[in-house]
Amino acid sequence: MKTIKHLFVIVFIISGSVILTNSKVSDSVFIMLALFIIILFITNLFLRKNLTYKYYFMSKYNFLTSKYKSKQAYDISKKLMFEKVIEVIKHSNFVLTDIKKDTSEILAISPMSLISWGENLYIRFESTEDKTMMYFCSTSFFLMYSWGKNEGNYKKLLNNIEDSLTI
């Protein structure tokens, strides 16, 4: 699936560039395209701050965002783990954006920088027999490739959690 997406993106970019440079497209088409991108960007900017729209960013059909999903088991209760991760995020440079206590879900955003708009970090917890599973998903906000930033966020969060278990 990922390979197909990568191929699609490459074909999309190359064909788009060829069509736009070779054809005599009017200025209005360029303006429309630019407007569409700007509107999409602003929409994403607002939607990213709410857990309600997580499926939009996490969906495998949303080819405008790159995703990294992983999970980790902990032998700490779900309630404690939920509070622990909130505490860890508050003490890290991630920005805690939204919390849903009833479903044990957390949304955090990694900080913006010169090379990144910041990624959305969706974290949720589920209780299994004697463990708590932490499901993690880092999605870029308006980028088809994260250049390893999504994986980096996961490693950073795991390290922060591990460090915080030394009291």
């Binding site: 032998d75 209760s77 404690l80 509070e83 622990k84 505490e87 591990e162 278990l165 030394t166 009291i167």
Partner: protein
């Protein structure tokens, strides 16, 4: 894990709530709860010292080794 944490026993003996201990020691309630369950990775000497000072006890009252 062969190390047993008896923090809840000591807290009950001293009639001190976890929340109050948290404020006095400067460690979050979440961390103390995790410690109480024996799920922490490690405990700093400074934290142990602060807990012992507040609860007026020995480290051995809080931590116990069992085969």
């Amino acid at each position: 894990m062969p190390i047993i944490v008896n923090l809840d026993v000591v807290l009950a003996q001293r009639k001190i709530k976890l929340k109050d201990l948290s404020k006095k020691v400067g460690v979050s309630t979440v961390n103390l709860s995790i410690l109480k369950q024996g799920k922490v990775k490690a405990i700093r000497f400074s934290t142990l010292e602060a807990i012992c000072a507040v609860l007026k006890c020995q480290p051995g009252d809080i931590l116990e080794y069992a085969d």
